[in-house]
Every structure is written in C-alpha cells, then in structure tokens.
C-alpha cells in the first residue's frame, strides 16, 4: 500500500492541474480535412500564444468528417477541401480561408512535361495506357489515385470531369504515400496537394499551365480547390476572432509560407 501512495498523489495532482487548465478558458475544436490540418494547427498555436484564454483543439479525419462534425456539433469548426460542398453542408455557414492547387505528378525520369485535361482524363480512365501515346517512352502507365471519399480525389475528379477510375489503378491513402509511390516508380502518375511537391517528383503542366502559386493566383491553372471552414451558426465571440485572425494578413501569410494559396 505504501508504494502506491506516491502514484496516488501524482494522479490527484495531475487531475487538479487539468481542472485548473480548463478554468475561465474558451475551448473549441476544429476537425476535418487532413490537407488543411497542419495549417490549422500552426494557426491555432500562433493564436493561442497571443490569447491565453483560448484553447483550440485540431483534429483530422477528412473532409467528410469535417462536414459531419460541424453538423452534429462534435466540432465547432469543420474543415473541408472540396470543389463542391455536398448537400449536408448546405445549412452550414462556409468561409473560404485558403486555396490549394492539385498537382498532377510523375517521376522525374519521365520525359513528359505537359498533358491536356483530356489526356489526364483518358489516363485515369484507362483509355491511354502507355506513355508513348502522350509523347513518352514505350512503357505501361501506372495510375495512382486516392481512396473513395478523399477530398483531394473528389476535387480532382470534379475538375477533370467524367472520371471512372480504371479498375487496376493503385490506391494510396494519403498525399505522402502518393508522393512515395510516384517517386519510386518511373512509369507512374498521381496527383497531390500543391504544397507537398518536392524534388523527388515532377509536377506536370496542365493545358500548358504550370501548377505554381503565381499561376494559381492568376487563375490560369485549373486544378484548384477552395478550403472551407464550416460553422453551424454565423461565427461569434472567440470563434469569430480566430477566423478573423486566419483571414488577417498575418494568418494568410502563415498559410502562404507553408505552401497553400491565400484566399484572396
């Protein structure tokens, strides 16, 4: 029994510390899009550093979870990165806080630099199955896509239009694993968030337009999706202050510095 005493005391202390933390604080939760999650975490950290009375929890889960939890109240702010919001989100207040380009990427060894929207569609549908049909070497194309329900995938399919993904396309469950797969396979093609491009993969021009920040802001590059914050009611109180902070020049700079495109 004597041995348990310090553990018991520690336990009590921890509980009191936790209780003390909650006192007098406004707490709210953000959940949803994994593409925006790291940005939301950074913004929340910066905001909490200056507003010690606010505590913000950021969770992932995907765009569908963002919409669902904003609807159910499980999170005060939902995050979603979809071109068209589904009907469940119609009753929610939506605010665009950033834009994200979707880059179509291939292995750096690939000679192809540019594809038209039609060619991208045909490749993902399986109608074009060899790189030589689009000006590359004679090798079968390995198509890599995301899992059903992914915000990046539905945005990609909505912008390219008429995609019925070919049956033997590889499916990876995150932007990061798409990047690894394409970096490892010289004949593969995939798509991922613009912010995650590095030198292991090569972004393609689409209809002659680069997927650079400048080209996205100028509205020339077409594979762009908005990132929404979703709220059940119009924002008020600390939540409104936080959203104002995200939309302020400081918040937008944080977003841009880390690879997304500012909302305006």
């Amino acid at each position: 029994m004597a041995k348990l005493k310090p553990i018991f005391l520690l336990f009590i202390t921890v509980i009191f510390i936790l209780l003390g933390c909650g006192k007098g604080k406004t707490a709210f939760t953000m959940a949803g899009s994994t593409a925006f999650q790291p940005f939301a975490e950074k913004l929340a950290d910066q905001y909490m550093a200056n507003h010690s009375n606010v505590s913000i929890t950021v969770q992932g889960g995907g765009s569908a979870v963002g919409i669902q939890s904003a609807n159910s109240g499980a999170a005060q702010i939902g995050m979603a990165d979809l071109v068209i919001l589904p009907t469940e989100a119609k009753s929610l207040t939506s605010i665009v806080v950033a834009k994200d380009g979707i880059a179509v990427v291939v292995n750096p060894k690939n000679q192809v630099n540019n594809l038209s929207t039609d060619q991208v569609r045909d490749i993902f549908n399986g109608k074009i199955a060899n790189w030589k049909e689009v000006g590359g070497v004679d090798a079968a194309i390995t198509v890599v896509s995301r899992e059903a329900g992914s915000g990046t995938r539905s945005s990609f399919e909505q912008i390219i239009t008429n995609i019925t993904l070919k049956k033997d396309a590889l499916i990876q469950d995150s932007n990061g694993t798409i990047r690894e797969t394409v970096a490892n396979d010289a004949n593969s093609i995939g798509y991922l968030s613009h912010g995650l491009i590095n030198d292991k993969i090569k972004p393609l021009k689409i209809d002659g337009q680069e997927s650079s920040s400048e080209s996205i802001i100028a509205g020339k590059y077409k594979l762009v999706r908005p990132i929404f914050l979703l709220l059940k009611d119009a924002p008020s109180g600390e939540i409104k202050n936080f959203i104002d902070y995200i939309l302020s020049s400081e918040g937008q700079q944080t977003i841009q510095k880390n690879g997304l495109i500012p909302a305006k």
Partner: protein
C-alpha cells in the same frame, strides 16, 4: 485478515477477466449490429458476389476484396507454410536442443516486429524488385503474399516445433532401431504423429494472414480489382475497411461494418478449425 485479502484479490482478478471477455462480446455485438442490417437490406448475394465497389454511387460489392483476401492468404500459405514447417523440422530433429533453444526465441522475435516495418521493407525493397523483374506496378498480390508469408513464420514455426517435440521419444527410437534414417523417421513417423499440430499451426498462421492490415495496405496497391495474375494490384477486406473508414458516412460506413462482419465470420471459422485440430492432438497424446 489474510483471508479477506485473498477474497479481494479473487474479486479483482475475476472482474478483470470478465471485462476482457465482455470486451470481446461487445465488439462482436457492435460489429454485427452495425453490419448485419446493411447486408440484409442491400442483399446478401449482391453484397458478396457483385464486383462493383463504388461508394459514391451506392454500389457496394465486395467480391474483389473477398477474392483478394483469399488469394493473398493462399499466397502467404504457399510461401510461409513449407518454409515454416521445414524450419520447425530442422530445428527439432537435426539440431541439438541447446542450439534450438537459442534459435527458436530468435525466430519468435519476428513476431515482435511491427507490421508497418514489414510493409515499409515491402515497399522499399520487394516492390521495386518485382517491378523490375516482372513489370507491372510492383505493389501487387505477389508482394503481399511474400510479406505475409514471412509474417506468419513465427506462428507456424513455434507451434509446429511444440507439436513435433510432443511426439514421444520412443517413437523416434523405435523407428531408428528398425533401421530407418533420420529423414525416413521424419516423414514416416514424426510428421504423421504431429500432423494435427502442424495443420493447426498453419491455420493459425492463415488467421493472422487474413487479418493483417497495415503491411498489406502498404504493399498490395489496393486496387478494387479481381486479380488475373500475381502481379496485379489487389485490395483485401481488411485494407478496404482501414482505407475508407475515416471518410465513410451513412450507407458507406455501414458497408464497411458489413465488410467487417464477413471478415469476422471467416476468422471465426478458421480459428474453430484450428482449435479442433489442436484438441485432436492432445487427445491422441
């Protein structure tokens, strides 16, 4: 005073034991409750035998996943079972007991390697080898089978060794005394006497292979596709649940639970077969 302590401990241990069992019951009930209504609403035949899995169009046919799970598991058996049984026979019959006591725990360490590490090795080493020597994407049925075959080795080896060592020494001596060589003793006496235990070890390995998720997601490519060659990419039942779980809502979510029901049933059947086989062995002894 001492007696009271005894009773308290019994009570505490009893509660803990019961909560472990009730956790199993709760999980089973939860999965069945979420998944079964969907299966009946959607149609058992349509769910099991349609190969159209398009959640956004409300089409939920899991036949490609069932086929993939069975193929990957079969592949893992082809890779893992002969290898595992061979290692078990070698260690128990050809190697001195002292050496075996060092090697067996080392092999069992294989089971302590997290599955994500197996997956990582599969992606980084195995997939490029398959891609470069056979073509295709590399992330394939074959890659999944090889990785799973290695992952089930510790299960197959350690249970096989246990059942081979359970064969009475007099059997071996009798056979050798009749002039049989070690190999003749092994295939005519030892394997026959420990057959049910070896089969049980393979079935338990099979259960592990069919339930493995992380490594398979990483190496099998995950296309919803009925495989026509070992170099095709496939998606298993477990991978299907894990990949789409975080996004699924409504019908799609229920369909994933229903996938879990099918998986649950398959694993229960396999484990029952294994425990019957193990029981047979103990009765024989």
């Amino acid at each position: 005073m001492k007696l009271v302590g005894e009773k308290t401990v019994k009570g505490i241990l009893g509660t803990i034991a019961f909560s472990a069992i009730s956790a199993l019951l709760l999980i089973a009930l939860f999965i069945l409750n979420e998944g079964l209504p969907f299966i009946f609403k959607y149609g058992v035949r349509e769910f099991l035998f349609s190969s159209d899995w398009q959640p956004h169009l409300n089409k939920f046919g899991i036949f490609p996943m069932i086929a993939a799970s069975l193929w990957v598991t079969l592949g893992a058996m082809i890779v893992g079972a002969p290898l595992g049984v061979a290692v078990a026979l070698f260690l128990s019959e050809y190697v001195p007991q002292a050496v075996m006591r060092i090697i067996k725990p080392t092999i069992e360490l294989l089971a302590a390697i997290p599955s994500v590490v197996y997956g990582f090795i599969g992606v980084m080493v195995l997939a490029p080898i398959i891609r470069n020597s056979f073509g295709g994407p590399g992330l394939s049925l074959l890659a999944g089978s090889i990785i799973l075959g290695i992952m089930i080795l510790p299960t197959v080896i350690s249970i096989s060794i246990d059942s081979i060592l359970a064969v009475p020494q007099s059997f071996r001596e009798g056979s050798l005394a009749l002039g049989a060589t070690t190999w003749q003793t092994i295939h005519m006496v030892i394997i026959k006497a420990s057959k049910s235990g070896i089969i049980a070890s393979i079935i338990l390995g099979l259960g592990r292979a069919i339930g493995e998720t992380m490594a398979v997601i990483m190496v099998a490519g995950n296309s919803v596709n009925i495989p026509t060659s070992p170099f095709n990419s496939v998606r298993t039942l477990t991978a299907n649940i894990a990949l789409e779980m975080s996004y699924a809502t409504g019908l799609h979510r229920q369909a994933l639970f229903a996938t879990g029901v099918i998986l649950f049933i398959v694993i229960i059947i396999l484990n029952s077969i294994a425990s019957v086989a193990i029981k047979k062995r103990t009765i024989k002894k």
